[in-house]
């Protein structure tokens, strides 16, 4: 694909709470190229948002801290930048869209002001020009009457419009990387379709790399080029979109795909849920966090984190189950029967 924008290697972000250390992100590595969309998939508490915030060094400290890993933006290590330098990166090189458009915009500042702010800060533009650009950006993300809308406050926008405004704000400085953290979770499905469209369009126009954080595998299937599956702060599997959906190697990925009801299913089949409850982040086992819920668990799993195993082109998995056994098991799962060819 395009040029390599970001290389994350062994990122660990921990929260030092009174109750103990929460290993929210634990040794996560991934890369992002220009024009590429990386989907980070996981359930709540899997560490996906923390990983994204770590990239922008927006982890609230205390209690959070990036304890390990390198975050290379091009040839700059984000971890080593001064506060001033990282501010230059934020909004300018990496921009972010947040989950809840209702609370992520400052309620007492005009939309135009909030967009123009980043432009003035990073692009050395005057106020008038920045506002003009803000209006253009709003128009770009599909907000009608943009000229009028810049002078409105967030409460005058609907949820979908706010998320569009957030996107406008994020792309205002033409960032290399756009992080979208559950951008559509709070929105209705028809609005979700609109927003996904806008993100795709903007990515095309600005040639950014996009990190899409979501728990919705449907959304991932729609726009991601590659996928990273997280569980309990760890990457359990990553790979190209087709690899993950059609050739998954990790029992958790299997479980996720198996527990989804699908709109395109013709006959009514029983779902195959993952047993048990989500893990307690404070008492994660030293081995695989999926133990206890994994149907194919073995003694090693609890104590030792498996090394990354490359199972295909750009497809890695961290699992103790031997590869042939994995294939065998997968083929027996009802969900994958139709891919079994």
């Amino acid at each position: 694909m395009g040029e390599r924008l970001l290389t994350v290697d062994g990122l660990s972000t921990h929260f030092f709470t009174y109750a103990g250390v929460v290993k929210a992100v634990n040794g996560v590595s991934f890369t992002l190229d220009r024009k590429e969309t990386l989907g980070i998939v996981g359930e709540s508490g899997s560490g996906k948002t923390v990983a994204a915030l770590s990239l922008m060094r927006l982890i609230p400290d205390p209690p959070g801290k990036i304890v390990e890993g390198s975050l290379m933006l091009g040839d700059r290590d984000l971890r080593k930048l001064s506060d001033e330098e990282i501010r230059q990166v934020r909004g300018n090189d990496i921009a972010m869209i947040f989950q809840d458009p209702m609370t992520s915009l400052n309620p007492v500042l005009k939309i135009g002001n909030q967009i123009a702010e980043a432009i003035i800060l990073h692009q050395d533009k005057g106020k008038g020009e920045a506002w003009k650009m803000a209006a253009e950006l709003l128009d770009r993300v599909g907000i009608p009457d943009a000229e009028k809308r810049v002078n409105q406050y967030p409460f005058e926008f609907s949820g979908g419009m706010r998320q569009r405004a957030m996107i406008a704000m994020a792309i205002s400085c033409n960032p290399d990387i756009l992080i979208a953290d559950e951008p559509t979770t709070a929105l209705d499905v028809t609005i979700q379709a609109q927003i996904i469209d806008v993100i795709e369009e903007m990515q095309q126009a600005y040639e950014s790399g996009v990190i899409l954080i979501t728990h919705d595998l449907g959304v991932v299937a729609e726009i991601a080029d590659k996928v990273m599956v997280m569980y309990g702060g760890r990457t359990v599997e990553y790979g190209g979109i087709d690899e993950i959906f059609y050739n998954p190697h990790h029992p958790y990925t299997w479980g996720l795909l198996g527990s989804l009801p699908r709109l395109d299913q013709t006959e009514k089949t029983r779902l195959t849920p993952i047993k048990g409850q989500p893990p307690d982040l404070i008492a994660l086992p030293s081995g695989c966090p999926f133990v206890g819920r994994c149907l194919y668990e073995r003694p090693t799993c609890r104590n030792q984190w498996p090394a990354l195993e490359i199972v295909g082109p750009e497809h890695g998995v961290n699992c103790w189950i031997p590869e042939d056994e994995r294939r065998e098991v997968r083929a027996s799962l009802p969900h994958f029967q139709e891919y079994a060819k």
Binding site: F16, Y18, P62
Partner: protein, 556 residues
Amino acid sequence: MKKPTTRWRGLVILAGVLIIAGLLLGACGSSSSGGGASPSAASSPKPGGTYNFPLTANPVSIAPVNAQESEGMQVAHQVFEGLVKYQMNDKGEMGAVPNIAESWDTTDSQTWTFHLKKGVMFQAPVSREVTAQDFVNGWNYVTDPKNQSYVSYILAPVEGSDDGGYQVDPKKGLTGVTAIDPYTLQVKLRYPFSEFYMTLGHTVASAWPVDYMKQVGAKAFGLKPIGTGPYMVESWKANQAVELVKNPSYWNKDAAGYVDNIHMPIIPESQTVWLEFQKGSLDYSVVPPGQVAAAEANPKVKSGEWSAKKWPNLAIYFIGMNMTDKTLGTNLDLRKAIAESTDATNVINIVNEGVSLPATGYIPEGIPGYRADQSPYKYNPEDAKTIIAGLGTIPTLNYWYNTDEGHQKIGEVLQAGWTAAGLDIKLSNFEWSTFLDKLSKGNQGSGSQMFRMGWIGDYPSMDNFLYPLFQSSQARTGSYTFYSNTQVDALLQQARSTVDAQQRYSLYAQAEKLILTDMPAVPLYYYRDFRVVNNRIGGFVFNPMGFVDMWTVWVK
């Protein structure tokens, strides 16, 4: 976030609490040291300057119609004059001497003729001579019920008035007072009253221009009244200050006043008055409770920059007892025991800091005819204890006082004494209005038993300390004791019509003795007023009626 540095936090907090609280409160302990100005040598009176005299409350009224409490009367005292004025004689007794009246005569103590001085002038802008008709008009005005005077009772003896000082028939007016000619005023009384002339120094009986008041309206007149006195009201800002200026055309050149202005700021808290005085912005101050000794020992007093003195006051503090109460009213032994265990010494020494004087009767020293040691029941706690022990079980007795720090402390000392004698006393305080209301319903089961009460003389006469307090028809509102003794009533009536002074005094003394023997009220102390004045001012006199004759002061 368990950092080691957090350990001191609790300590800092505790230390902070203690230090700051201590600083705030303990720092006030030391008192300020004296300034360096040396007192100017005594000199002869000279005109000019301003006299700064605080008032401790906003006056209710400063005009004759209604000037009634000490603050209003203090102002009125400088502005208004009556037929007589009160003056102390060589023997230290107060008496009434001619003022606007040159002389008066009566044969039967019932019809009185006053001869007025010529050339007594009202202040500007009225600026005309005072005539007998002015008194007729003024007295008629104040006794007219629709004018709501609350001090007209002073004129109650005059024919045409009722016991409360209101005209019986407003259409006829106050029939007893007539102007024979511009300089002769005739007053007929409803009954013989030998000391009637003494009552006429009261503000309500002063000369004031009723016609002018009708011209400008009662309200405007109330704010800036016109009298004949040496000082005129310049302004009265409610709750702020009263300003007086010298009357340039005062008729009596002998008492024309020296200072040009009298500034009377209204300051309700005695503590504040005292602070302001210490700052030098006042020439006269009361001293807050607990600070008398400190004030006397103040370096500025020692150096003569200030003077501190206890001035006698014709007033008495007593403990009333509800004679209609089941426990108290019928039990003379109990009342006697209460009197004998009433610890006046400690009240005076501890609470009043030695300012007041022990009372041995109802009539204070300084009243013509005063006799010492009238009370038959001297302080004798041992005897009281024996009496009470012999009385069997006595239910808890109430002692009431009106809400005030000083009254409370007196109550506490008294309670200690009575308790030591074997009584069980419950203290309660009520706010003044409620207090009077409850006391006045003492015969209707309001629960009133023992209570504090005071009496400040309206005029310096024995009558004023006995008749309104203990005469049977008066006792319910005078002393609130509901005391009634026909023998006492007869003696008082007889004294009133007795012209000969010595004979009269003896009758009053007999009545006083009788009342004291019945003991409806325990006399506690005679007031004295502790005042500190700045010696920047000369000629200061605090007269026993509680007034300062400001025309005698001058700025050194």
